[in-house]
Symmetry: C2
Subunit: 308 residues, 2 copies
DNA sequence: CTGAAAGCGCTTACAG
DNA sequence: CTGAAAGCGCTTACAG
């Protein structure tokens, strides 16, 4: 109204020039533009959202931003979303069901147009809660949850685990341990299962970490923490124990780390996730689409022959 | 309206029971609550925001989420904000002025109730842009920008730099180099200045990294990258070159890294930042308050005597 | 204790 | 080409 008064027009006209859609006489438009500049007016996105019934915001739920893999996912999501004019509400859950519930409620109340989930607790009800309200959701990197409405961008964890075990077995290892994530993560379960299947195929069963000559971690950050722990207790990596991670975070390639791991492309993953999500949002439907990204084994210097 | 019809009351009454503020007869309240449960109704926060003229959202701008220090800052901000019922809009700027401008505009249009800035470009106009519109802002960890309306939670970078140089000088180093951040960060400048002052006090001037026996990096991630680079080129740390970081990210304590650095407490920093910001928001004023957090030197294994 | 009315700041047919 | 009117889904005095 302030701008309208100053330009001597109605607020409809101001709206028309701002959105640039309707026909507005040149002189009128210029007067309005001048008034906008003079008043430093910025349209109120909240009012626009209320009317439009879309928030132009998406939710992003992540267990732990402190893990560089998730941080990269967050960066990718934010970058892709903002390119399309969407804001992103980030929620840090630590895979705690109570927090996941709160987050779901908050996202629903704020009417996010869609949600990208980077990781959730085992058996989480969050996706269904959202889906049932008509909010599209895509899962990035956390395994199949069985709902056809979901979008899923994922890796082939079982194959990756097979490749890891194959590599280690070829080196001569026979005593393997798997280290699950600290958090009760959905994805953890699937990797562990893949690992066990790969062992079974070779008529092996997992042993405790202290008896193992090869330790497979759920992700890189954990592998790096395990190396720290082993070395503090006087065991050398890889001379005494081989360690394998998962994700290929930037640090994994560092000269002091040189972690053998599985490469995943968080940037590409999040880019695709946003793309699929926004397409669904535009069409007012669920994503209902799944795709796999390649995740090759990267052999570096934390794996070697077992001690004789 | 749906809930109201089902409960046979007006929407005013529904509103009253939801907000729990006005007096509502027991029987009526129960009918309404039942109707809410049956319909799975969730209030529309957008409409509420429009009416209330507050979004219950804060903005968080960060140069690079991939840096664990910033990731921790983000976690702390999100955790503290959600505790108070605020959502956080995260924006990743890479210290690019163009992006900072876009972010500022987006935050203003979305009417965030305040913004926390973890890092911005040198000479950024973002804080003023926000402040001038009446949006409170607090700067975390990036040095003083001269505006009394700002909230500032910071470290004493000059003292930390003095402590670093003192440590190195005591070890016998005389040829120092400083490595600025890749991004054109505000904070980088101040640390560099502190570093130079500390050298000057000892009648020294900085040399290039290849001639230095002691390298001081703007932050840990950079220090870690420098170690990688040096070691790939055959120089040993600390036998040939000492390296010091800044931040004390979790990784700095790792057995394979053991980085000498300056401790900062991102969690505490962000907690305080949110606290100050929300207090200002509630009172409809700017923060206008600054405080320093301690940042002691942590001596680990990347610093030692210079080669003879 | 309950509800009708006004208003938050926009957008969007529609009439002129 | 321009503006009056209705409506998005809430909240909030205020009357009854």
């Amino acid at each position: 109204m302030d701008v309208a008064d100053r330009a001597g027009v109605s607020k409809s006209t101001v709206s028309n020039v701002i959105r640039g859609t309707a026909q507005v006489a040149r002189a009128t438009r210029e007067r309005v533009e001048r008034a906008i500049a003079e008043t430093g007016y910025h349209p109120n996105a909240i009012a626009r959202s209320l009317k439009a019934r879309t928030s132009s915001a998406i939710g992003f739920v992540v267990p732990d931003l402190t893990n560089p893999f998730y941080a990269q996912l967050a960066v990718g999501v934010e970058r892709a979303a903002s390119t399309h004019g969407y804001a992103v509400l980030t929620a840090h859950t630590e895979c705690l069901p109570a927090i996941e519930g709160d987050v779901g409620r908050a996202f629903i109340e704020r009417r996010v147009d869609g949600v990208i989930i980077g990781g959730i607790s085992l058996g989480s009800t969050l996706p269904r809660m959202l889906l049932d309200r008509g909010t599209p959701v895509v899962l990035a990197s956390l395994g199949e949850i069985d709902d056809p409405r979901l979008g899923v961008i994922d890796h082939d964890d079982p194959s990756a685990m097979e490749a890891i075990v194959d590599h280690l077995y070829g080196l001569g290892h026979r005593r393997f341990a798997f280290v699950s994530p600290q958090m009760d993560e959905q994805a953890g379960e699937r990797r562990r299962l893949g690992f066990q299947k790969a062992l079974k195929r070779r008529r092996l069963t997992a042993v405790g970490i202290d008896r193992a000559t090869a330790v497979v971690a759920h992700n890189d950050m954990q592998a790096i923490a395990i190396i720290d722990d082993l070395e503090r207790r006087g065991r050398r990596v890889p001379a005494d124990v081989s360690v394998v991670g998962y994700d290929d975070v930037p640090l994994a390639a560092h000269s002091r780390v040189q972690l053998t791991t599985v490469r995943s492309d968080a940037m590409e993953m999040s880019r695709r996730a946003v793309e699929l999500l926004l397409a669904a949002t535009r069409d007012g439907r669920h994503v209902s689409h799944r795709e796999m990204l390649p995740n090759p084994l990267v052999i570096r210097a934390t794996t070697g022959r077992p001690p004789a």
